[in-house]
Amino acid sequence: MADPILEVKNLHVHFETHDGTAEVINGIDFSIDRGETAALVGETGCGKSVTVKSIMGLLPSATIPEGEIRYKGEDVLSLSDAERHSRRGKEMSMIMQDPMTSLNPVLTVGEQMMDVLKWQGRPRLSLSKLVRDALSTGAKAEHRKRAIEMLGEVEISAPERVFESYPVELSGGMRQRVLIAIALLSEPDLLIADEPGTALDVTTEAKVLDLLDELVEERDTSVLYITHDLGVAREVSDRINVMYAGEIVEQAPTVDLFANPQHPYTRGLLESIPTLSTGIGDGIEGHLPDYTNPPAGCRFADRCPHAEAACHEAYPYPRRTGPDHATACHLFDGLPARERHESLAADPVDIGTAPWLAGGGDAPGDISADGGTDQ
């Protein structure tokens, strides 16, 4: 971790709801190096979108009581609105999760793309300039060409038509690709992609992933890729962060994670992947805990097949289980991954070792996936 472009340290995010304060994000830490692609995976509702929106500063209704978000070494949380805004776009950009609602319904796709090309990174813009621009033709042709090119690159057939279309006239996958195209137009240093492939068919998704790859290669862009498709995560990412209920429960390089999944939740997740050969499995029983009244101990304990009474009481701080592998589970022993947990580590909770390890061999016992090849 020589040169992290983004470091998130002990981030907490709370929402005020009528049932009380929802502690949605509960002290997460992770970082992304320059040119690295990190994946954030986890159950729906575990707080992935909230995490990245906090990074972007797009959560006006949330409070961040604690934590640090360092972008290129600078704590963005302490910046003013305007300064923060100036970091968006060219520096960090985002592909929003919901393709329909993230496109302005009253502007054509082209208009929205051109705006990004034209205005991005200009912090101040006077009204008169805006009006003057609307009346002039200026560098439009060039921008138009670039935008249409980009639409073509995200595999949109008939990019000219889509350029002239309003979002309602597009299919779900097309909208999503438009969002991707817009984010790519700005060629940011850090790209956050919130489930960008959900609405895409596999061939298209594959193409888009290639495109991202290219971007990473050429511009040394860092990507934070949110997905629930572990297959995709495996394909695109260098590192994977597995999130559960507002906490990161396992962090490891991709190869490592697939070779040696540790947290029971990660294992459950891998098990549930539908495969051509083995079926879709059952998923993991139970729900996410109530964020307004989260358990004091392990947030996964209620659903964990290996949980013991102690799991419900003691907070399972993330611990090092390998050179670059951290897991937040009492089944594992190890030094705390973060300094702030040292006091907890002094008094470890012992609920034994993981059964699949206890068997002695390194063959995983209860999951269907074994280490895949790294692509």
Binding site: G89, S102, D115, S126
Partner: protein, 339 residues
């Protein structure tokens, strides 16, 4: 449906509207109590005089006959005689409409021009001082009657400060520009008389403010409310994520969505002001149609009432039509309906 189809259809539909309006107004103008004939002739008039004039005007005929006669006249450009002016109502209106039109259009233009930034600023600074300032202005705009505002403006800007002219469309001694549209601002520019243009503009200033405050208030508050709605929309957040300038986000991404209700009110205000500018016209001695219309109502000048109401009706129909077109233009989701 294409705009051209829509235009044609809408034009066809306004025929029954105007027809219906004329029937209704014709009826109302005859139902409301009062005898315009007697009023026109003065108190000393004899029964016979009254009867003669009544017959002359066809008022002794049954209502449907009267209406038919009137309609027949209208088709030929004869809108009937005004009892108060003894002129053809049509020419009366033609003489007065430009003044009101000029006032109304300029008022709306400035009301909207100011309401947009005020509304946007209030909306994006909800519950901060900008919002409160806008609220207080709005409040003043709607709870103080126009005439009161007008008089206070006169006292401040004419009597105390001596900055602006008191009344009328032009100063004494300034000849109206050569008539083309009879909108002095336009005509003076056409004729290249900039002195006259300035004079006309200074005369417009106070009436415009007095007349436009309420519209400004409504539009401003509606924009504010819609801007607040917009703020949480995903596409606005997305636009922020792309690092677009705030001004662009506010005035393009949010405003265009937020403008529907304000647009409606602006359209309606046009028609409304056309017929209701009278209090301001009266205070500023503005020789407009609204004043004529109110006089017509007070003196129950049948034909003038019907004439003015129809012109105002046409104003409403046109404004609403333009608004509907703009809906379609500003929001592609809105399909043009044959409405």
């Amino acid at each position: 449906m294409s705009y051209v189809d829509y235009l044609v259809r809408r034009a066809i539909h306004s025929v029954p509207v105007i027809f219906g309006l004329s029937v209704l107004i014709f009826l109302i103008s005859r139902v409301i109590p009062g005898d315009p004939v007697r009023l026109a002739l003065g108190p000393e008039a004899t029964e016979q005089q009254v009867a003669t004039l009544r017959a002359e005007m066809g008022l002794d005929q049954p209502l449907p006959m009267q209406y038919a006669d009137w309609l027949f006249g209208v088709v030929q450009g004869d809108w009937g005689m005004s009892l108060r002016t003894n002129n053809n109502v049509f020419s009366d209106i033609v003489a007065r409409l430009p003044a009101t039109l000029e006032l109304t259009v300029v008022t709306l233009f400035f009301a909207v021009l100011l309401a947009i930034p005020f509304g946007v600023v209030a909306g994006t600074n909800k519950d901060r001082w900008q919002d409160h300032l806008s609220r207080i202005t709005a409040l003043f705009g709607v709870s103080m009657p126009r005439f009161w505002v007008a008089i206070v403006l006169q006292i401040v800007f004419v009597v105390s400060l001596g900055l602006l002219p008191l009344s009328g469309r032009l100063s004494d001694g300034v000849a109206p520009p050569p008539a083309v549209t009879n909108l002095y601002l336009v005509d003076s520019l056409i004729a290249g008389q900039f002195g006259t243009f300035l004079d006309a503009a200074t005369h417009l200033l106070l009436p415009t403010v007095a007349l436009g405050l309420a519209t400004l208030a409504q539009v401003m508050r509606l924009i504010r409310s819609d801007m607040i709605d917009e703020q949480r929309k995903d596409y606005v957040l997305a636009a922020r994520a792309y690092g677009l300038p705030n001004t662009l986000i506010e005035y393009k991404y949010m405003l265009q969505n937020a403008f529907t209700s304000s647009l409606t009110v602006v359209g309606l205000a046009f028609g409304f002001l056309l017929g209701n500018a009278f209090l301001v016209e009266i205070v500023f001695a503005w020789p407009g149609m609204a004043r004529y219309g109110v006089q017509a109502i007070l003196y129950q000048d049948f034909n003038a009432i019907v004439g003015v109401t129809i012109v105002v009706g046409i104003g409403f129909v046109t404004a609403n039509f333009v608004v509907d077109l703009l809906y379609g233009y500003l929001d592609p989701r809105v399909r043009l309906e044959e409405g």
